[in-house]
């Protein structure tokens, strides 16, 4: 299955391990993710002001690229655009929904983008997790894994943008299960966290990191109290806040203990025996000692910290 794929800026910079591990995992289940030959930043935040059409131009331009891939013969009638980053997913899907429901706004955007072909509203924005659940099926993934993650207790962290608002979300915003089912398909044990969809503090990490650090404490401690070894997420900003902000969290809460934060695809790469593509060395809190202890990674003697 050849699917168009939108990486987003973060996956090319601070979340390279997210992309690398997803690519390797996708290959193992027969999915070829074809990066859009041309793409621009999704906009990073979806504008909620009804007359602010300008900020929908960027995401719609990206959707035009999917049409062009089909027109150019790179894809054969394939309009499902796969996104890994929850934030990009949310922004692209929201703009897509706006213009497919509102012909006048679509017309305005098309008129403004006078150097592009018109967007025809044909693209479906899909999160990679949805492809796994709906197109491949979690039971199929379970059949294909090489290394079942027995004994690893994984707490899913959904955050906001994968679930909210309801019409955009890929699962029930109040009681999501998609990541839990994903964890089970890798034969790891899902662990619930009452704070699994509490906002991580998002962009406050730039100007007011303490806000984020207090939330990181709450979220990670919530998972730990239920026995989790590790947390998985699908958002590079949540990952940064939960992972890189643990240092500050420790300063503010001396009783806090570090916990590895992984992209869900890193766990998948591990289960497919693609640990070299998992990019564990790019995580802030090193997950390797935990994975070695759980006998999911072989001990390498001279591994520098």
């Amino acid at each position: 299955m050849k699917l168009p794929y939108f990486p987003g800026c973060t996956l090319k910079q601070t979340a390279k391990n997210f992309e690398k591990s997803a690519m390797a995992s996708a290959r193992r289940i027969g999915i070829e993710l074809v990066e859009l030959p041309r793409w621009n930043c999704c906009g990073a935040v979806s504008s909620l002001t009804s007359d602010d059409i300008m900020h929908h131009v960027a995401p719609i331009r990206d959707l035009v690229r999917v049409q062009q891939m089909n027109d150019d013969g790179i894809l054969n009638n394939e309009y499902r655009l796969v996104v890994l980053c929850s934030m990009c997913f949310n922004v692209l899907k929201r703009s897509n929904m706006l213009v497919t429901k509102d012909a006048e706004t679509l017309n305005k955007i098309n008129e403004f983008m006078d150097t592009e072909p018109d967007y025809e509203g044909t693209v479906e924005v899909k999160h990679f997790l949805e492809i796994l659940r709906d197109e491949i099926g979690f039971d199929k993934i379970k059949e294909k894994i090489k290394k079942p993650l027995h004994g690893l207790k994984v707490s899913p962290y959904y955050g906001c943008t994968l679930l909210r608002p309801r019409e955009i979300g890929i699962d029930d915003p109040e009681a999501p299960t998609i990541m839990d089912d994903f964890i089970k398909s890798l034969e790891a044990t899902p662990v619930d966290n009452p704070y699994k969809s509490l906002c991580c503090g998002s962009y406050h990490t730039v100007g007011n990191a303490e806000v984020v650090a207090h939330r990181t404490y709450k979220i990670i401690e919530g998972a730990r109290r239920n026995g989790a070894d590790v947390i998985i997420t699908s958002c590079p900003l949540c990952a940064f806040n939960l992972d890189n902000r643990q240092e500050l969290t420790k300063k503010l809460h001396p009783d806090f203990e570090y916990m590895p934060i992984l992209y869900f695809t890193q766990l998948m790469a591990l289960a497919f025996g693609e640990e070299k593509e998992a990019g564990f060395d790019e995580n802030f809190v090193n997950p390797v000692p935990l994975l070695e202890e759980k006998k999911l990674l072989k001990k390498v003697v001279s591994r520098g910290e």
Binding site: Q13, R38, C41, T115
Partner: protein, 236 residues
């Protein structure tokens, strides 16, 4: 001569002039009696000095061009830009860590890009300016370098950008980083620089420096030009 030619009316900073049809904007402005002391350079579309803005009669679009490369049309409202103000950050290329997000660090305003594409539309070189700014946001020096390679630094993109990005300075920094830290060093260049450092050409330079202007002109005309047969790649 004027009698045979079709005359057109252009407006220079609002004032009407009749000029012959078929001149470039630059020549038309000169025909009207103006003399360029800034905003003109090579007159061949390479130096980027003659950025110009105009509107056509009855057309809502604000247009941009190089004055030396664009034919003046009837009803054009013209203004020459002598200079495009644009902040250029100071940096020492030797002290840059290319693994960091250098472009965003020096030019954080690139992250304000909303992909409106105004820069691309304003580029007289027809570069994909928006695409290289987007590549700059994600730190892809190679892509910025290849997409911006033909930039002549006229600054029109920068004058038009609603996000106040200074595209050409961003791209120049990216090309410098790519050239220094990523692209392979050409062997023939390394060899020639070595020869220069060893003083192979010192004598010749001294000889040239002592020549009069006339002697130099003669020597220039007489110079030997090495011809490379078509299709052959030069190897040194």
């Amino acid at each position: 001569m004027e009698g045979n030619k079709k005359m057109i009316t252009i407006y220079i900073m609002g004032k009407a002039y009749k000029v012959p049809f078929g001149l470039t904007i630059m020549k038309a402005v000169e025909y009207a009696g103006y003399r360029f002391i800034r905003g003109a350079g090579c007159r061949a579309g390479f130096c980027g000095a003659c950025a110009t803005v105009y509107r056509k009669k009855g057309d809502y679009k604000f247009r941009t061009a190089l004055a030396c490369q664009t034919t003046a049309e009837d009803g054009m409202y013209l203004a020459q830009l002598p200079f495009v103000p644009a902040n250029r950050e100071e940096y020492n290329i030797e002290n840059i860590d290319p693994d960091k997000n250098v472009l965003s660090e020096y030019y954080p305003e690139i992250n304000r890009c909303v992909s409106c594409n105004t820069c691309t539309k304003s580029c007289p070189q027809e570069l994909d300016v928006m695409d290289f700014i987007q590549a700059a946001i994600r730190g892809d020096y190679k892509k910025v370098s290849s997409l911006s390679f033909d930039c002549i630094q006229c600054g029109l993109c920068t004058a038009r950008c609603p996000a106040e990005i200074t595209h050409y300075h961003v791209a120049q920094l990216a090309r410098r980083i790519y050239g220094k830290y990523y692209s392979p060093i050409p062997k023939h260049l390394e060899k020639r620089v070595g020869e220069i450092k060893k003083g192979k050409f010192d004598k010749e330079i001294e000889r040239l420096k002592k020549m009069s202007v006339d002697e130099l002109k003669k020597a220039y005309v007489k110079r030997k030009i090495e011809r490379i047969p078509r299709g052959e790649v030069r190897e040194e």
